[in-house]
Symmetry: C2
Subunit: 230 residues, 2 copies
DNA sequence: TCAAAAGTGTTTGGGTTACACCCATGG
DNA sequence: CCATGGGTGTAACCCAAACACTTTTGA
């Protein structure tokens, strides 16, 4: 077609390419603590160690990176729905990263998911899937690869988002009380927030709207107005 | 060695891997404007179009991603020194990204460099290397690939850093006046800053220290104290 | 009537903007 | 002596923290 002397390079290019994977830092809030989902590795390298769930990028299956991350999530967690709010965090790669290959590259994604709504069970190549305290995992020297550091970064990035009121709406039920929202943010940040200023910041930004007539009557106290994303 | 039935995967793994590249968003300030360095492509695809300088990840040459970015910078710009302040921005990848391969992945880096200190000249596969207004490049529909969008992101990320007084020290001369620093920040942000509050913010953060006895006598006005990174 | 959580208002203080003003120098 | 950029001080303002207070419910 082209008169250009430079022809199309074959699908398998001249230079060998890195072993490319997706890793997922999936976080949630359980019992008022930020937690991260780790899988126990059922194969080498790092057999038996806990690691972020991940998988190989499949150029035959994935149309782009985000789709690859969703596919890996579905396979490893044995779920059918997309992971909400899944965002790319960073790429890490080096010669010595993974003994399975001369050069390994991982694209790391992170998300915050509602723990009730998904029912992760260990997919292929995982012995077990378990929630760990995110803070403890970030400091755990025994995790596979450099995953402790990646968890640390995922926690910090998520906390920054919450500080800026970039709220995890996909994480919350469609309607929720302001108290529930505040507790959720406090769990992620690991510190208490002031009710009054939290609410003022929320309505200045016009992020929420009340669900007309809907209240939550939880117990021996005043019922709370339900809100939803505007 | 291992009793594990799962053996080491060969260097060239079972699944074909994506064509993996590094792209560089190299910015600077010229005549009070934020600019970005683009190369005119000397080969397909996008022959003749302007694009971010970039190159293929070489697993035989690069020990990790950051090193790969430095190597690509040296080759494309024909320089010998490392690019200062070079930071990873994001990874983009998809099936249709690059016609040379069935699946292409790019790891994009960004930096801000002092325009005087480096003397970029077009390396292999580039016809010409030129500085463009960053704002105009970010809006230019005729750039190769999705590079306009990447430039947009690089500009925004850099502006956020400056807002937070994460200053481009590698960009500045070792000693500089506060006026020069302020002008530089104004150029990057594209808006004027208040002198008084700019200085107050600087010394609250204790980022700078005066260079004892050193002043800049520039013209028909009071000489300015020189400062350096603390 | 009491505990508990919802919801509101008011004070205080940190930090930034806006702007006025003096300082030092070469022409 | 004046134009110019360096350098300093102050009042106004915005935003959020802290905290006290009222409201509404079930037990």
């Amino acid at each position: 077609m082209s008169t250009n002397k430079l022809e199309r390079i074959p699908a398998n290019p001249i230079h060998p390419m890195p072993f490319t994977r997706i890793e997922l830092a999936i976080m949630s809030v359980i019992d008022g603590r930020l937690v991260v989902l780790l899988g126990k590795r059922a194969r080498a390298p790092h057999l038996g160690k806990w690691a972020l769930p991940g998988g190989v990028l499949r150029i035959d299956k994935d149309i782009h990176l985000d789709a690859a991350a969703q596919r890996v999530g579905k396979e490893r967690l044995e779920i059918t729905a997309d992971l909400p709010h899944l965002r790319q965090m960073k790429a890490v790669g080096s010669k010595s990263r993974d003994s399975r290959s001369a050069w390994a590259l991982s694209i790391v994604y992170r998300t915050l998911i509602p723990v009730g709504q998904f029912d992760p069970s260990p997919g292929k190549r995982l012995e077990e899937l378990k929630w760990f305290s995110a803070d403890e995992a970030a400091a755990d020297k025994k995790l596979a690869f450099d995953h402790a550091g990646l968890i640390q970064m995922a926690v910090e990035t998520t906390q920054n988002e919450i500080e800026n009121l970039d709220l995890p709406f996909d994480f919350l039920p469609v309607a929720f009380t302001l108290g529930e929202l505040q507790s959720c943010c406090e769990a992620i940040l690991g510190r208490r927030l002031d009710k009054s200023s939290f609410r003022r910041r929320l309505d200045e930004r016009e992020l929420l709207e009340p669900v007309q007539g809907e209240m939550r009557t939880g117990g021996a106290f005043r019922p709370a107005q339900l809100y939803q994303k505007r």
